[in-house]
């Protein structure tokens, strides 16, 4: 099983989240996601190395909307 990917509502959100996580020392990689139901089509996800729950918590505190986790 690969690293978890957080589904983001827009590429701008993904870039914002990536920068925020980088400041916390968490590496992430932006991936294009093809036709996912939670994304309402294609969109972008943030593949992370680290604990997904703590990452989701960081994003929630920053007010960055997440659409799901793959």
């Amino acid at each position: 099983m690969g690293n978890p990917t957080i589904l983001m509502s827009s590429l701008t959100s993904a870039l914002r989240a990536q920068k925020l996580l980088e400041q916390r020392g968490i590496y992430s990689y932006i991936r294009k996601i093809a036709n996912n139901q939670k994304l309402g089509g294609c969109g972008y996800g943030l593949e992370i190395q680290g604990d997904v729950n703590s990452v989701l918590n960081i994003l929630q505190v920053a007010g960055i909307r997440v659409l799901g986790v793959l």
Binding site: S9, S10, L11, T12, S13, L15, R16, K19, I30, R31, K32, N35, L39, G40, G41, C42, G43, Y44, G63, R65
Partner: protein, 381 residues
């Protein structure tokens, strides 16, 4: 050619802007926000850096509240037509550019909204009172230029924002002439819609503009289309900035604009303002001594004015003056400056006005040479 037409667009652009534009053409050539390959993500990242730079400049925490537009007019139209509903009433100032006046007048002509024009005064309190008097139960929005593009008069947007908060009105500011010259913290001031050009005081390429708003998701859209997100849906996404940025963005312009904003931040808007005002004030004092010259404000002070100054020479049309100055190697704008309200206020609707607008790269030597050229032109009048 000595360039004093920075109010139309700044020139020259900083070297960093030229370099960023070159890189956009040669290195970051992919479509941002559409594909998943590395070059597309790298290009998206560069676009995001420009968005982040604009957010920081205007005191906004979330870069998704920054919308790239093609110019200030586009930003204003996006906000006005996205916000206003049938039956709304709008108040604008008597110094507005056609970028504000025309869309509002068109909405009014189409029977959608009503509007009134507030008189502005030298005393900020009087200006605020003038707006206050025009507020009606159906008033929804106050629109105001931060500074006149013709006469350099600065308007009290902080006080007007306060009035809007008290009266529960939206507040739109046209900062075409002030972004990059005056410090603007949009949330702290209480600006709901900050509209500006990218190619003036922010030193980006032409074809760039910005709309900064936390209310983007609630606006109706002027343009719908591909956003690279929610692509199965027939509906335009609510997500910002996608909602207001349909179609491929102007990567070349946006990367150049990011470099322009970095230039402004490195120099400091306050320093740029002081430098430009010193030159504009020196020109004002010099040409004030010429009996043939007509000026339109009794003084020209730091704080109350922008480095934008208009004048006329008795017996000459404004375009004749700019033509004579062009022949002497100076670039200035004459005519009506797309601001009929401002010209009506100052009595220059027929003659127009000759506008001197100072930029970061103008020097004292250039300002003195311009004064000499105006003196020579006066002798011919």
């Amino acid at each position: 050619m000595i360039y004093f037409d920075n109010g139309a667009t700044t020139f020259p652009k900083p070297r960093e802007v030229t370099e960023a534009v070159r890189q956009a053409m040669t290195r970051y050539g992919a479509n941002p926000g559409r594909s998943g390959h590395d070059l597309s993500i790298q290009t998206s990242n560069k676009v995001y850096q420009s968005r982040e730079a604009a957010a920081t400049l205007f005191g906004v925490d979330d870069p998704s509240e920054v919308v790239f537009t093609s110019n200030c007019t586009h930003a204003i139209n996006t906000a006005l037509k996205g916000l206003l509903r049938p039956g709304d009433h709008v108040i604008l100032s008597d110094l507005e550019h056609n970028a504000v006046l025309r869309p509002i007048h068109t909405l009014s002509q189409n029977g959608i909204i009503g509007y009134d024009i507030a008189t502005t005064y030298a005393e900020p309190r009087d200006t605020v009172e003038s707006f206050h008097r025009l507020i009606r139960p159906d008033t929804r929005l106050i629109v105001c230029t931060h500074g006149s593009n013709v006469f350099g008069i600065r308007l009290p947007i902080e006080e007007l924002a306060l009035l809007c908060r008290e009266m529960d009105l939206f507040f739109l500011v046209d900062a075409a002439q002030t972004a990059g010259v005056l410090e603007i913290n949009a949330p702290r001031i209480g600006i709901d819609f900050l509209c500006t050009a990218g190619h003036k005081g922010l030193y980006g390429p032409s074809g760039t503009g910005l709309l900064v708003t936390a209310l983007g998701s609630s606006l109706d859209t002027l343009t719908e289309g591909g956003t690279g997100s929610f692509s199965v849906s027939f509906e335009q996404p609510l997500e910002m900035p996608d909602r207001l940025e349909s179609g491929t963005v102007n990567t070349v312009g946006i990367l150049g604009l990011g470099a322009g904003i970095a230039f402004v931040q490195q120099k400091g808007a306050a320093n740029l303002y002081r430098h430009e005002m010193r030159l504009a004030q020196e020109i004002f004092q010099q040409i004030k001594k010429l009996p043939q010259v007509i000026l339109y404000t009794p003084d020209f002070a730091q704080g109350s004015h922008l480095p934008v100054l208009s004048f006329n020479i008795r017996g000459m049309a404004s375009e004749e003056v700019t033509e004579a100055l062009s022949r002497q190697g100076f670039a200035l704008r004459g005519g009506l400056h797309c601001a009929p309200l401002a010209h009506r206020k100052m009595g220059t609707l027929e003659q127009g006005a000759v506008r001197i607008s100072v930029g970061a790269f103008n020097t004292r030597d250039q300002a003195l040479k311009l004064c000499d050229a105006i003196k020579k032109t006066c002798r011919r009048s």
